[in-house]
Amino acid sequence: MTQRLFPILIFATTMALIPFIPGMPPFWIVLLDNIGLAALVAMGLVLLTGVGGLTSFGQAAFCGFGAYTTAVLTTAYGVSPWLTLPLSLVVSGVAAVLLGLVTVRLSGHYLPLGTIAWGIALFYLFSKLEVLGRNDGISAIPPLSIGTFKMLDPGTIYYAIWIAVIVCALLTMNLLDSRTGRAIRALRRGHIAAEAFGVQTARAKLLVFIYAAVLAGLSGWLYAHFQRAANPTPFGPQAGIEYLFIAVVGGAGYVWGGVLGAGIVVILKEILQSYLPMVFGGQGQLEIIVFGILLVTLLHLAPGGVWPWLMARLPFKARRPHPDRSLKLAARERPAAPQDMLLRVDNARKQFGGVVAVNNVSFEVKAREIVALIGPNGAGKSTTFNLITGVLGATSGHISVLGKSVDKAPPQEVVKLGIARTFQHVKLVPDMTVLENVAIGAHLRGHAGAISSMFRLDRADEAKLLAEAARQIERVGLGDQIDQLAGSLSLGQQRIVEIARALCVDPMLLLLDEPAAGLRHMEKQRLAALLRQLRDGGMSVLLVEHDMGFVMDLADRIVVLDFGTKIAEGTPSAIKSNPDVIKAYLGAAA
């Protein structure tokens, strides 16, 4: 607790004392005000772009919503500025919902381009609407005031701005360090893994989009009362581009990177604007040229931004608290009578255009059973997994879990029934620790939402999730790696991390896609022992594997696929001598 808050406390005290430094030029305070305003927007972008992977050029437009809301209400209707604060935030948030519904589902590069487009459209709307004063904007906005004390000069609103920055930074960091935060951080690596553990990715994306917009709206509201005027220019596409710069320069993945980036960019622009004309004479927009060139140079030198570069050079490293492993999560409710049939795949078929990837395959997995799905490459094993877990919809046929049909169920519903999986191509978040990655597996077993996380009301819930994750990590034998970044582990270990993540679901059926690939002999034996132990504890396992020694040793039953069709099913000894299987693997005897 103290370790987390101590640096922030020092920062807050420093910022509070700055205006009292004797001889502090008032102009510097104005600069600090501007830095704070930009930092608020950049912080939203950190969450949206750096953490969530959604690039937006349109944040300046949300500042505009915030600023114009208060400008119109305070000047035309005489509403108190403090009353317009919630309204400004709500207007920005509602605008974000509308635009977000359209944009956030877009993948990759459509999103930034889409945001440029509506950013420009909104800018022109601001500058053409009569009620917003067209290009001239709205002036004579009343200042913020407490009682009779009016925040008229930059030195007093300074405190309002920086209190907002520090509070928002704290809330944002709290949010990232929580169940919802992990879901957000998983977004950047694609949605399939997150959805397999119950994360509603579309909702998480919309959440960060709204969060970033509300922060921008707050910045716009403060801006309107700081400048006491609002016109379209600071809410246009150039400003939107600049906010994104700030986030990237500071370090797009880090909350404090946004603040640092705001400081760097605002000060740099000021220096360039005031000193360049002296050096080169007053022609043209030299500062823009130098600014552009510096930016490209910076990206060449530190594509990750300045904050992580600085942190890597700190002499001391932050210690991570260890989860209290004694806390228990409620176990899944299992059917009282041991049900025999866990999973039934009945004539499942999947066609991609003319290619039949899975051709009317039927098989079953019973309780307390290890079933192996084998077959040559391209036999349709992973596609079968995707059909069972709801990643793909079957062209025809039925799949049911405990007698319940999952034909139309999305991945988030399938995992609720107690089916957890791993992936053939490892899908972990490389810049999260092993513990955090595994805790995503327990996503559905926690209940804290975004708001309670921001205010740290989620700690009891969170401690249980982390305890469960830590237990599962120790169970699979990676206790020593618990605080390492997932991306730094070997591929074999990453597969084991995926198994731990799947175990966090407290599943009844574990689907493992090539779990032994990349493991050494001893590690494979340990994995086999673990899987047997899980089966004896009442879990079933369906695994795809190419290591025949591993499969024959472990599986109770084997299903063989070839070119999407089931060619055999039986005990390991029966499969070993099955002529069709030998033919599929080795070709027909000459």
């Binding site: 590069h109 509506w118 053409k128 994104l244 823009i288």
Partner: protein, 346 residues
């Protein structure tokens, strides 16, 4: 609305749309090959147009000096990148492309500037100057970070846009300029009068689209560019120099941008920062085309041009709002048809 206005607006829209189509094609081309979203496309337009206008006015364009300066930097980059194995051939090639080529342009410009030249000479010189800038821009700003994420490339692209726009102000001043028309001929067809300029716009657009189609469909270089677009690593493994592909893409994009600029500068007054907006409308078309499809982009560009023409007639205040909002229904459609299986990111 009477038919005359309708036809007139349609004609106006198609002329604008043809320009947007060219820009959209260039954007698709660059994005497909390099993953760079080419924000500085707007500067290629203004540089081409204003270099041409300046030359026609008998003055010396500053862009050629920029080309020489960028060439020197690019030469430094080439030497630094190849420092482990400096073959004579590499040095000679770098020297020829980065130093001699822009110097030749400078010499040619000094030779013709201040005199009354024929239009083709001015056009050719303007195109070559902008081509050099485009080529060096890729070498300096993008080639060293070609492997990074689309976001980093995008930000770098914005940085280039800012720097080049600043240079534009230095070279051309804040005053708008117009250039001489390519042809003064005019054809009257019924109620419609086609100027030689608008006919040139149609003709050159169609010719360029055909040329691009031939280039990508039937030449080894074109196929190499397409291969790079599909899979960078795979292309390198079969011996395609992906950095060269990027340079070619930028070269083509800058020439296309400059051509567009030269085509419109006789029709509308261009300022040093006008290109940005024109380029963005090309974007709208490119996004509608999904950043992959050339024909769809061309059709979308015509739609964008027509919508712009009609909205400037009926709701001129909200022209830009309408044009840029056009993208939203397209985005909705695309998000409804989102792909089932995700692409691997980063």
């Amino acid at each position: 609305m009477n038919t005359t206005i309708l036809l007139f607006l349609l004609q106006d829209g198609i002329t604008n749309g043809a320009i947007y189509a060219l820009l959209g094609l260039a954007l698709v081309l660059v994005f497909a090959v390099t993953r760079v979203i080419l924000i500085p496309q707007g500067e290629f337009i203004t540089f081409g147009a204003l270099t041409y206008a300046t030359l026609s006015a008998g003055q010396f364009p500053g862009t050629v000096r920029l080309a020489v300066a960028m060439g020197i930097v690019a030469f430094g980059f080439d030497l630094f990148a190849g420092r482990k194995a400096l073959h004579a051939r590499l040095v000679v090639r770098a020297l020829a492309v980065n130093i001699l080529f822009p110097l030749a342009l400078l010499a040619a410009t000094l030779l013709v500037a201040g005199r009354h030249n024929s239009i083709p000479v001015n056009i050719a010189l303007s195109l070559l100057i902008v081509a050099a800038i485009g080529l060096f821009l890729y070498r300096i700003a993008f080639q060293p970070i070609a492997h990074t994420s689309v976001l980093v490339l995008l930000i770098a692209s914005v940085g280039c846009h800012l720097a080049l726009q600043g240079f534009g102000l230095v070279f051309f001043g804040a005053e708008g300029q117009r250039g001489p028309t390519v042809s003064d001929a005019a054809v009257t067809l019924g109620q419609l009068r086609f100027t030689g300029q608008s006919l040139a716009v149609y003709g050159i657009t169609i010719a360029l689209i055909a040329a691009l189609w031939l280039f990508f469909g039937f030449t080894v270089t074109g196929k190499a560019l397409r291969a790079t677009a599909v899979n960078r690593l795979g292309a390198r493994l079969v011996g395609i120099r992906t950095s060269l592909s990027g340079q070619i893409a930028f070269l083509l994009a800058s020439v296309i941008g400059a051509i567009s600029g030269i085509l419109i500068v006789p029709i509308t007054t261009l300022y040093y920062d006008t290109g940005f907006m024109i380029g963005l409308k090309g974007f709208v078309a490119a996004i509608i085309g999904g950043l992959v499809s050339y024909p769809l982009t061309a059709v979308a560009a015509l739609v964008v041009g027509s919508v712009e023409a009609f909205s400037s007639f009926y709701a001129s205040n909200f022209k830009e709002v309408i044009v840029f909002t056009l993208i939203l229904p397209v985005l909705v459609l695309r998000s409804l048809a989102a792909p089932a299986v995700e692409e691997e990111k980063d």
